[in-house]
Amino acid sequence: MNRKNGSPLRLRHIAAITSAVLVLAACGDGGGTDDASDAPSSTQKVKVALDWTPNTNHTGLYVAQAKGFFAQHGLDVEIVQPGDADAASLLAAGKVQFAISAQESLTQARAQNVPLVSVAAIVQHNTSGFASPKAKDITRPAQYAGKTYGGYGGPVEEALLRTLVAADGGDASAVKVVNVGNADFFTATKKDIDFEWIFYGWTGVEAELRGEPVNIQYVKDYDKALDFYTPILITSENQISSSPDVVKSFVAATSEGYTYAADHSAESADVLLKAAPDLDKDLVTKSQEWLGPKYKDDAPRWGEQSAQVWTDFTAWLYEHKVITTQVDATKAYTNDFLPTANG
């Protein structure tokens, strides 16, 4: 099993269980041995944590680094993989300054008073959906009844399933849910699992390359509220209040990275591959071609976040009891740090 080809969406929250306290104990501020004398005195050190192993949802960060966009904005950026620690928890605890997350995760965090803020939508529309091998002949959500869903333990999953199955006129209570841990989509669906929640841009493309095509039902096609932002670029309220200039610089450089990646898919795929050589070249190349145009899609600029999306999805999360306290959606995101120029 090649763990690094696991579905980034499904595996985002899978980690050995560690409490935040253990995270703090395990992740010291030390470890960096950068030679400060080599860097310009005005350079600001910044860490950004991925949500999982590198994939094309992250390409813009690597492009911004490789093309020197971060450096041009006075930033020395380290891209870290949190491993078993949760990226958002590291951010909340001040161990990193930025992280890749998702709208449902950030909203749940805010429901628990974790002060995180989304500063950009990395992909403008939801590219995730429930996928199954074509051979299983599952073509619509009503057919999930009686089938087994392989999940990763995210609180939002069962609510999504219920919404899609109900919207398609099926019996949501007849869907069996099993946690599949770290097993990847292809392994799980050859065993006892019928379908999983994936990003088409990664696992879906991999399926095509393997000659094991999938049927996929995108969540956004069954409820308007489900066209939510995933992945997103996030920071903390503390970071915004203490270093607004750093946030602005970081978002500007990242915006240039994703905009460049959207227009230069082959070159950007190479950049990602250099940063993560273990990735499969064909997968990265084809995924980048598919996903690149979707970073900005129909938005006026990369990263733009809609008040309606945040309000509708937050209400949906509350209605479906994924969160049990009201969250003020207007405080969960901001477009204030996005550069004004159209991409």
Partner: protein
């Protein structure tokens, strides 16, 4: 004399439990005071009362998950005991096999279970079997090693005496070696007992539809550190319960031999 002795024994039993109980109470109190005074955010370090409230909130689903984990741990523990004892007996009776396989047994304990677990899913699917295998791998080794040591340390003088009396291999094993191995076997059993619950949690992380392991993963995704602490507390209680059962069994099986030994 008899009355005094009985009262004294009762008093000692009470005092034996008082110290650890007091330590736990003090620890929990200190934890509560620390969270109150330091103002630490709940998602970072919940207070004991936060954890208690979360436990009450989820008591119904917690009961379901606890039952699932307990069932899995007991099945895995039973399988681990049978496997561990069987390996110990076979290796003891066939010295050549012992020489060949003992190093492999040691190596089996260097395999990081977290890395192996996903492969077990690939090989065995998502049912009960891979989870039981994980728990067996975690549990059997201490039992096998302890029992093997016990079987080997039989008093040679008594062995010679029995051989001179015409005892065959089977009688020697059943009458002398096995009884003699009981104390170390129970030492191994206690270690295996505590490992069985933790093994069940690890097994659930690799794939489960119920169990405290799954509960922890969902709680973590929802930034509910308070729920994670509840689950941890339940795991500790479960582990102590299994250990307690083994201690009770040990007392029944081994203390029962003491009077005879004393008489001899």
């Amino acid at each position: 004399m008899a009355d005094g002795s009985l009262a004294g024994r009762r008093g000692r039993r009470v005092r034996r439990w008082a110290a650890p109980a007091a330590a736990i109470v003090l620890l929990v109190a200190a934890w509560q005071v620390f969270t109150a005074v330091s103002g630490t955010e709940q998602w970072l370090l919940p207070s004991p009362t936060d954890a208690l409230a979360a436990g009450r909130e989820d008591h119904a689903s917690l009961a379901t998950h606890t039952l699932a984990t307990a069932k899995l741990a007991l099945i895995g523990f039973a399988a681990g005991v049978v496997t561990g004892l069987a390996i110990a007996v076979v290796l003891h009776l066939v010295p050549l096999l012992r020489a060949a396989l003992y190093p492999l047994l040691v190596v089996s304990q260097n395999i990081p279970t977290i890395a192996l677990a996903p492969l077990l899913v690939v090989w065995l699917g998502f049912g009960l079997l891979p989870k039981v295998v994980v728990i067996v791998l975690v549990c059997f080794f201490p039992l096998t090693v302890a029992t093997l040591d016990g079987l080997r340390r039989t008093d040679p003088a008594i062995e010679d005496y029995l051989l001179m009396s015409g005892a065959n291999r089977r009688q020697l094993f059943l009458k002398l070696e096995l009884p003699h191995a009981l104390p170390p076997m129970f030492s191994g059993l206690k270690i295996a007992a505590t490992y069985s619950v933790v093994g069940a949690i690890i097994a659930e992380w690799m794939g489960a539809d119920e169990g405290l392991g799954k509960y922890m993963i969902v709680a973590k995704s929802a930034f509910r550190a308070d729920k994670i602490f509840v689950a941890i507390a339940i795991v500790v209680v479960l582990s102590l319960a299994v250990l307690g059962a083994v201690l009770l069994l040990e007392r029944l099986l081994i203390r029962g031999r003491t009077p005879r030994d004393a008489d001899v």
